[in-house]
Symmetry: C2
Subunit: 401 residues, 2 copies
């Protein structure tokens, strides 16, 4: 049985590559960038006026002139108009370009305009004020976004500003989620007292949808031939197969054997963790990856968050996220020699400290608190007692914030 | 000019109501729940076995019996099989129901099976072990999800487990994003030296897409008649109108006057903040809300995050998010009597403390660092100097984590 850290390392060493494609800029939000975005000109592209008011020569102001003749009005987008005399000014709007003969802008609040003459009402003027200078933010050719970056709304702002109408993005993988287990009935069927409804595959499908991946869903019975047939097809049709159930020590846990028969190389089976100990991971020579999780809902959920999504992100060349730590808010005991993933709710107090409130859970089968969990706290296998105030690493549950 | 807190209060007092609709459970991820979800039976629904192994009577074990005849094998989903003699056991698989005559489960790792006899290899057995009891997590009729909750993958797990094939969700609002300003050219056009490309509306559109809202985008020229015509139509066709630009003191800032002419009630104009001071908010008697933001990209972005998205969430009956605080990592000075929203990158250190690293920005016009920002830190208007180590509230930028 390998450790969580070993499992993570093996998975990260086996990243996928799903290729690239080009999408229109207004379809790109949420995708992963596969090219470098550079500015096509300085930002701002000209000396940009940041208020509505008048542009004057500071030297003229300093020499005592307070009333300026308005030579012209200049809107954003207009060619700048030059002045000829020191007591001339240009009435300028936010976003307009600074005329070459002028160097200081005074906002409407500090002037009075009458009969085409603007009079400055304050002495508190600084040379160069209210101007955002050409190239102050970025120079032409500067890199503003890089491959692996999520195309967030802010990245859309950059992409559109530099005129990229089409964007090269990472393709998302073709994923199928396969549940197994004869005790499972479809969601719209009433289970007998001893059956349960299929829910794992839809939970996984929803988690993938949040990542922009549209996964297919399939259920297979506990029947070696049928499992074999379905898996054989899926190994050819998908980049990744997520299985739930059928990998433990039970008599009907056929999955590992079937995968072996289909020449999927087992990279590990069983991880020193709770939930999710029976987790099986492998790779098919055709290029497809198999993540086989045990059937209990919390294990599936944890394995998705802790292993599959980081693998997906690495495969899309996304940078590793900085670690997050939280302070345990309760004492607790966990005896088995397993790394325990505790469901926690996170709060940030007024000392800016992240506290983790454990959610009551009866081990790996209890999924009824999962909707309240913000993260899993990773409690080291070598310890048994965990004290309020101790700090451990947490893994945030993917969501829309 | 009102304060940020006052603006927030006015907006929160004017929440919208976009109605409800029914969607299939596998289309519901990311939507907002508009009904209460209750369990249709206990969770677990029966005394659920949590390992693969044998079920025995603890009394029989305590009386010294170590070898048990395997009467039957019981898979998950099977009717439980009762035993008749103390030295009988049932071979059981994870997820199977505990037979009524038995009370303890011993995993394969601790037994040996030969010729239909299972022999227990350990004395370390606890009565009731490896059983997840009926109703331990939830009782039939317990509430597991409530209106206003985001339908996260964990909620999908609950919904499917209780057999809800259709889910009542909040409708998303019909939103149009309207940019104005004659200096703006379409993304695919090359601007002159003094023009810039339309980017604000696509940034807003992308931010809304992350919230599951598909917004339309429109550009209007600086022309009173055209603005009037477009806005008149939009006030009837949309629940919310987001405008960018045209609301400041400039000569071509026609928007507030046009909105007044169209009988949109102004609820406020100008907020004591940077960026975004000229922000205008109003409500049309037809029920449509108007958020008019100034044209600079950072102001638009901030106003979306700080005002529009919280309004959207309140309108969808989502609960208020707990506040988040962070510790400033640098000294900084901000003189104007405005609440300053500082772009920051957040990190959580190994003491579980959230630190906020200010991103260099040249005031409200600089959007080139926005893609690196995790949050805006809200620096109080009444202070001028902000010291490293001081803690302030931060507003997380909505994203997929």
């Amino acid at each position: 049985m390998i450790t969580v850290a070993e499992a993570e390392e093996i998975i990260q060493d086996n990243k996928g590559d799903f290729g690239k494609e080009i999408v229109l800029f207004n379809q790109a939000a949420g995708r992963i960038l596969a090219e470098t975005i550079k500015t096509d000109r300085d930002l701002p592209p000209y000396n940009r006026i940041t208020v509505d008011g008048i542009a004057v020569s500071y030297q003229a102001f300093a020499s005592g002139i307070r009333s300026f003749r308005i030579k012209a009005t200049q809107a954003a987008g207009d060619e700048p108009v030059d002045t000829e005399a020191p007591d001339e000014c240009i009435e300028v709007m936010t976003g307009a370009a600074l005329p070459a003969t002028l160097d200081t802008v005074i906002r409407y609040e500090d002037i009075e305009i009458k009969d085409g003459i603007a009079t400055i009402l304050t002495d508190n003027i600084t040379q160069g004020e209210s101007i955002h200078y050409k190239g102050a933010d970025r120079k032409e050719g500067d890199v503003v976004a890089i491959p692996g970056q999520v195309i967030s709304p802010a990245v859309i702002s950059l992409i559109t500003s530099v005129g990229e109408t089409e964007v090269r993005v990472k393709k998302t993988p073709r994923v199928v989620v396969i549940s197994s287990g004869d005790e499972l009935v479809p969601v719209d069927k009433t289970p007998t007292e001893y059956q349960v409804r299929q829910s794992n595959s839809f939970t996984v499908q929803a988690a993938l949808k949040l990542q922009g991946v549209n996964a297919d869903v399939l259920h297979v019975p506990d029947d070696v031939e049928k499992i074999t047939g379905h898996l054989q097809q899926c190994l050819h049709a998908y980049d990744a197969i997520i299985l739930t159930g059928g990998i433990s020590m039970g008599k009907f846990d056929y999955i590992p054997q079937v995968l072996k028969n289909l020449e999927v190389e087992q990279l590990f089976h069983k991880v020193q963790q709770r939930p999710g100990k029976p987790f099986w991971f492998g790779r098919h020579e055709g290029g497809s990856f198999v993540f086989a999780f045990p059937g209990n809902p919390v294990a599936v959920f944890l394995c998705m968050q802790r292993y599959f999504l980081p693998w997906l992100h690495t495969s899309m060349d996304m940078p590793e996220k900085p670690p997050v730590y939280a302070m345990l808010d309760n004492d607790l005991e966990f005896k088995p020699d397993l790394q325990y993933f505790l469901q926690v709710k996170l709060l940030v107090n007024e000392q800016a400290q992240v506290t983790a409130i454990p959610l009551n859970g009866n081990g790996s089968g209890d999924f009824s608190n999962l909707a309240d969990a913000d993260a899993f706290m990773e409690l080291p296998a070598e310890k048994t007692l965990f004290k309020k105030g101790e700090v451990y690493r947490v893994y945030l549950i993917s969501s829309i914030t």
